[in-house]
Amino acid sequence: MIQLTINGQPRQFEAPINVTQLIDHLALHGKRIAIECNGEIVPRSRFSEQMLAHGDQLEVVVAVGGG
């Protein structure tokens, strides 16, 4: 069991997962998003190779209206 913090919310997973699996889990596949893990950008090209570890802090962002 690993715990990740995603956008400030704790989430448990049965086994280690990579970023692509996380995106599928969050139903964000195909969405325009960007992801930061522990303060570092995870490039889209590395989503499937980047494994997430217990305690990782993730930020998943989108563009919204703003001035």
């Binding site: 995603i6 956008n7 400030g8 919310q9 989430r11 969050l26 139903a27 964000l28 969405k31 325009r32 998003i33 960007a34 992801i35 930061e36 303060g39 950008i41 490039p43 889209r44 930020e59 998943v60 962002v61 989108v62 563009a63 919204v64 209206g65 703003g66 001035g67």
Partner: protein, 270 residues
């Protein structure tokens, strides 16, 4: 053609608009279209996790293929938050490096913290971002941001979202006179005449959000702002007449005015 050039890219519109505070994306899109803006600002925020995954996306309404998106750091109070936000934005927008930096200093006034803004700008420029920077109307700070390598300097006209108009045209004038990069008024415009005044001062452009989004009819106001910016720019280029204090000058010829008619005697006897 009288174009706006920012970081080597040419734009025909000198009005930049934000995309916040609209009723829905249809209204956002209609207002942006009516404004004629080519550069539009967006904010970067956490996505809703696990709820409403099918909610509409701003970038579907305003595609990056049609507009130059200018991601901002609205709501950031530290160098670290601002820099991280723009790194995420660059990843989100496929390497797009033109950004709007703002580092705020006070939640009540949203006044920029220029000391922190300078630090953030330095980091971002080193990372090859093209930084359009929101700042106070301090001419020395504006010049320092320019010398550091910002691609445009964007002083406030008055507080963000206040609609108070241009409160210190003299400082803006100094900033404009000193700058070799585009100067855009960002924040404080309330109505069309404010935008015109900014452009008449010699600003290269105006960035606004609330003045349009919070109007009773945002789409009509967007159209008004488009004309206001164009009118102000043309007036600036045309060069206004000199002001004559307390001395009038007739617009019509002073020669050839008909003479006063001779008065006829009252009873016709001569």
């Amino acid at each position: 053609m009288d174009n706006l050039v920012i970081a080597g890219k040419t734009y025909s519109s000198r009005l930049l608009v934000g995309t916040g505070k609209y009723k829905d994306f249809n209204e956002t899109r209609a207002a942006v279209e009516a404004s004629g803006a080519e550069i539009i600002t967006v904010a970067i925020r956490r996505t809703n996790i696990g709820q409403n995954a099918n909610e509409p996306n701003l970038l579907d309404a305003l595609p990056p293929s049609k507009y130059t998106l200018l991601p901002n750091t609205a709501g950031c109070y530290t160098v670290d938050d601002a820099v991280r936000t723009l790194r995420l934005a660059r990843e989100l927008l496929d390497g797009h490096s033109l950004v709007k930096l703002e580092v705020l200093g006070d939640p009540r006034t949203l006044y920029p913290n220029v000391v922190e803004t300078l630090k953030a700008a330095e980091i971002l420029i080193k990372e090859d971002f093209q930084v359009m920077v929101y700042t106070s109307d301090d001419p020395i700070m504006a010049k320092q941001l320019e010398e550091m390598g910002c691609v445009a300097v964007m002083p406030l006209a008055s507080l963000i979202g206040s609609g108070m108009g241009i409160l210190n045209p003299w400082n803006l004038q100094i900033i404009i006179d000193n700058a070799k990069i585009p100067v855009l008024v960002d924040a404080g415009v309330g109505t069309a005449s404010d935008a015109t005044i900014a452009m008449e001062l010699g600003c290269d452009g105006v960035l606004m959000n609330t003045a349009i989004a919070a109007a009773q009819n945002p789409v009509l106001m967007a159209s008004a702002m488009r004309k206001a910016v164009e009118a102000g720019r043309e007036a600036y280029l045309a060069g206004r007449m000199a002001k004559k204090l307390y001395s009038a000058s007739p617009s019509s010829p002073t020669e050839g005015i008909i003479a006063q008619a001779a008065k006829k005697p009252a009873n016709g006897n001569s």
